[in-house]
Amino acid sequence: MTIMIDTGNRIAAKAAIMAKPEVVAAYPITPQTTLVEAIAEYVARGEYKGEFICVESEHSAMCACIGASAAGSRTFTATSSHGLLLMHEMLHWAALARLPVVMCNINRVIGPGWNIWTDENDSISQRDTGWIQFYCSSNQEIFDTVIQSFKLAEHEKIVLPVMINLNAFILSHTSMPAEIPEQRVVDEFLGKHIAHWKSDIDNPTTFGNIIGPAYYYKVRRAMQQSHLRAKKLIPQIAKDWKKSSGYFHGDLLEYYKCEGAEDILLSMGAIGAESKIAINELQNEGQKIGLARVRVLRPFPTEEIIKLGKQANLIVIDRNISVGLEGVLFNEVKAALFGTSDIKATGFIAGLGGKDVTYKDIKSMCRKAIQGTSKAQEWYAMED
């Protein structure tokens, strides 16, 4: 074991290389660039033995990963914001073709106006593509989640692509220490990549052929069933990784001081980490409040949310918005609770366009929600 003090991007690159993908295909975009550059450095030093394909766009990057994965290779890519959106068609393709591509997405704002700071609208807008989505809150978690994602994506009961999301700059460009296990630990945990289907001249099939409504209907249901199975497998894989590496960041959610809480804060990504400080201070002030950080948005942890809704009032902070409705986590939390709970759920939009969300802001939102002085869906700290 060694300690690596580096940025979220470079730690993600380290994890990806240690998983030994046969193919990496990527196109640089701020704030993901340093991740791809780090992989290029591993290639230059001869530490990465796989194929690193420089492509002309993110659409091509995902196509190259799809092709490589369909040929039976373990594959990795990384992108951000507009790059992710350019991949959109191919994201659906990778998921429907059941190809276990693993990708890091650095959560960055969508333009115009041009803005390279963080919010989650890029990955949120891809949530219906069939990809499993993780949201990380520290560099250690990024490392551990990338390794676990390969295991999950390639599991015979899943066989789906996985997206690991990290906030632009707050995580991607911030150095933090992360414990890096021996290569042997990663090798033993992941095992050799076994393709559950592949293009093979000795076993010929046509891939992506026309299929009629009855078959297509089954393909969609199979994806849904795999997502539901992932709800059980993600906790299992997280526990197995804890045995191998000692690290555990929660499974579908990370619970922090929820015992006896009468209010529970739900958030994702870096806000989830900042929330812990807010929870500590609010508890010191006598508030019975806990934190449930949502690590996995797809599959959605419906059962866990229902349990929380039976225990406490819920406060949801969204760094995203489904325009014309409300914050996506807030909306989905309420949908999960339908018919099971009559608790109060309060939603905040915060930090869009990379606006800072500090622990003081989070405390302020929690206080407003507890006192009942916030609007039904409040835009926190909006300066008119």
Partner: protein, 91 residues
Amino acid sequence: MKKFSVETSLSYPKKGAMGKTGSWRVFKPILDKKKCVKCLRCWIFCPESSIHREKDDSVSIDYEFCKGCGVCANECNVKAIIMEREEAKKN
């Protein structure tokens, strides 16, 4: 041949890999065996291998997979194949 357990759009090289394409048909080819001269032009041109060739070079049409494209009728020099509108399916 190894079968994969993953449910995605993979088709194996076998009869009817595309499903029962005969259900697409609007016009149905009708073969008049008395007019047929066994030239096999229909058998050569059928895009879906739905013309079956017998040992004596006589032919028959596989309506399970014939899409009704009409290529066979067009290619038949002696007009032994004509296209007829399918009867409306009874509900």
